[in-house]
Symmetry: D2
Subunit: 290 residues, 4 copies
């Protein structure tokens, strides 16, 4: 199998399942921690509930709380919940093994690693957590709009120009968070929100590789731009080029509103997926510290 | 309703749902971050899978991965998972509203806040995340045993003596992690593991209140000592005194083996539950940084 | 607790959990079997799948099939499914304990029988199965319309007139199936279908009691007429008067199209819910034999 | 692909997904109905609940009941349940497409029909219901034992001898129910019950083909004999020869105790699986009428 044109296969050895997370080192962690000056936390997750944003959108999250009511009210009482959900519900991270093409997963491994019992290559349980420099690119603010339009593509040039205008540099080992404003559409216009979304597309692959980001996240369902009615089986290409070709993680449904409001463009980014064995992704609660 | 004898009700106002997490402030966060010298991460979670340790033990976690295999192998392919689990599966945090007695929840609110649709008082979605000083008390090492025995109680005196011997102080705002060695029993002797566990009990409530810890975790199913066959409806009391009376969070099935092996007793502790609306708890992946 | 105005409480003894199903006797079964002349089966269930009609409508049914693919293709291979669903999904039967009011369930029992662990009064596991005379009332055919309108009420007079016109008598021990034509709306106009439905309402309670039917079913989500935007907490009244007051079972999302097309108005009706312990209802596959 | 040595492939046409259920005709249905003399019902299902017998055994069935408690107790109140289960839970029927080998399903179709989204060949939704002559073979009674032993094989000769002794003939179109007594072990000795089971094995394949039964059921987890610790990837062979080669349905966890107690060996057998689209099997509630 020939590697794809733009890729990081073999960069961390043939047996590597971590991809660009390899750039997270003791030195990078210490540098990221030093970014915090005020001790202020921003919660970047959306509520995880039946009516929350999910991907794929047709899935619901179910939660039921069960409890006993003893006839003796002085007895110890306890309530638990059962939740049924796609692991790509709410704010979540995609494992590198989540998508593939040409019968090949991240780092050139074959798709026989994918079965109904999970993925035993590049599953989410390999990721302990991200402790990294985070950078927010507030694209709609840069463009002077409330939010980008349906299917509008954020190009590498857009991201570079936005970073320059914000006087923030995208560096090796960063977690890059791209604001499109699309999450503000969720409550206001559900039909529009469900019809697709703006975001980067695969044309930024070389730029992502050159910048050496570890992950890219956005305030939409799948990071990349698409219009539901135009979908074809060859897309979404950025999922393929990021996860499979570059080993760059995707983080979806990230709530970037508070960071944008406060014009926080550089911060300590922390996120740890559930240690779900062989899973293709995990909901999580990322947060930013400044 | 009279408050319990040892309690923190009203300490943070009558409308408070956060409990001792109120002690987490910008200043405490900055102090905790300064504990990191090496940039080394310890993953404190157990694998979250069908055969993993769960609580209640009779529950299983289900995961199924579904995917399409197009006839065109060059097409984009994707795998997702569905997971069904009790929110108290694997390494997890209990919400303050998880347990109650006398018809009263944390801070004196009535149990009408608990319905099949969740708890709308002191649910886990109130917790953004813990960024705090963590302290490990390695009780079996202190006692010179491999692990504590079934039902063996770790008293306040035991914890204080262990802290003193380890030359580590338990301070206001800490996350206290108590190692019992019981997780080492999980793979070696499942029957013993399922029959109960060692741990602190409610006799340490005043000590916990005086130390002002924000959370207490352990390497067992429910933090506190119990023997399955002796259970009575008035127990487990520590769940009541910690969660409901003091507003102290419980963290269960924490993997403390690596920290203990390296004799790491003080560290930056980070943990963020899923933002599950109205849930009584959440699985999470806590980690330690030194 | 005083019994409701029109009711069958106590008719079968104070400990009765079966309600009108008590009318099913060896004699009634033999009589019903004698109705079959041709040996022809009509399947009365709708497909039970994620996109099928469910009640409540906002719930989805999830099914995932998991399987192994051994590297040795000659090995034994097996596929199983996991399904997560509300028990009131697809074609289903309501248990008598499904609804209540005034703190009282069928036969006057208190609502403390309902907990998160199920209903231990009048649960669906009490029902082995219906083997009974079935009667179809094809209301839209009788009225000369394709289907009844949103919220249109089928009165006792409508049912009696339809039965008379069809020259079929509604008798003691019957399962009465009322066609509204609403299921034909399901695929053609989902928005209309979700906005409510036509059907009988509580005004037919005395008529149902007098006719002594064991169950009443319809080709809609909840048997009785309603308009979504007008719902109030006192409705749906027919659920209360049928299940709780009379002990008459409800069967929902019944596919009556083939019976109507063939003008089959009298038949052997067979249906057996899953033996789900303490459940409030069950999906099932009823069928008619002529 | 060459058909297996003993098979019914092509017997009902190349596009047939029903297998031996094709033998159910208006004439066979009328004949089966005529078997009923007394109008007495036997419920043949086991309770479907978390602690019930399931297959595979390591799976649990989950049910949670949710309900609202309005502050106004006179308001309408309703309780629903969510259930998560393997479709092969409790008393259930295997679809013909449940098992395969050599890359081939029932009637010679390829295993590409099996995906994570279900089986689109010979799924359970093809089965409306069985209305057939049922025959019980009470093997332990015939052998003078309480129940057969772990892994004990019921041969074709055993079944024939038992039928002869019971003076009942196994005929074309029958549903054959084989009692091993193993269900009586379930509550008495769970460890023994989980270690395997007695039953027929693949050596009876020719006999089953010659008798032209439509289905074979038993009071155990998988109809056929096995010992858990001896399992190999080539077994269980009877699943392959019955479902895939012959098109004979399997019915598992059937409660035959009451029929055996009353020495009822011939009866009307009725069973209808849920109409679960593309599912590999379904729980159901079969019953016998005499």
């Amino acid at each position: 199998m020939n590697p794809p044109e733009i890729h990081n296969w073999g960069r961390f050895g043939d047996d590597d399942e971590l991809g660009m997370l390899n750039l997270q080192t003791p030195a990078s962690i210490l540098a990221a921690l030093r970014l915090v000056e005020h001790g202020r936390i921003y919660n970047l997750s959306v509520p995880l509930e039946a009516d929350g944003p999910q991907h794929p959108m047709f899935h619901k999250t179910w939660q039921t709380t069960f409890f006993t009511t003893h006839s003796d009210p002085c007895a110890f009482q306890v309530a638990d919940d059962v939740v049924t959900m796609v692991t790509h519900s709410g704010t979540h991270m995609d494992a590198l093994g989540h998508c593939w093409t040409d019968g090949t997963l991240w780092n050139g491994r074959g798709s026989e690693h994918v079965t109904s019992y999970g993925i035993d290559w590049a599953g989410i349980e390999n990721v302990t957590g991200f402790v990294a420099r985070g950078v927010l690119l507030d694209i709609p603010r840069h463009k002077g709009v409330e939010h980008l339009g349906l299917g509008e593509v954020v190009t590498a040039d857009d991201m570079q120009a936005c970073a320059d205008a914000q006087r923030v540099e995208v560096r090796s080992g960063d977690v890059l968070l791209v604001r499109t404003g699309w999450y503000t559409v969720f409550k206001r216009d559900r039909a529009l929100w469900e019809s697709g979304e703006p975001g980067p597309d695969a044309s930024c692959t070389q730029w992502l590789k050159d910048r050496e980001v570890m992950a890219i996240g956005a305030d939409n369902a799948g990071v990349e731009a698409y219009v539901a009615k135009n979908r074809d089986p060859k897309s979404p290409r950025l999922h393929i080029t990021a996860l499979r070709d570059l080993g760059v993680y995707l983080i979806e449904h990230v709530d970037l509103e508070a960071l944008a409001r406060d014009a926080v463009y550089e911060f300590l980014f922390i996120a740890a997926p559930l240690r779900l064995s062989k899973a293709t992704g995990s909901p999580l609660t990322p947060f930013a510290l400044v």
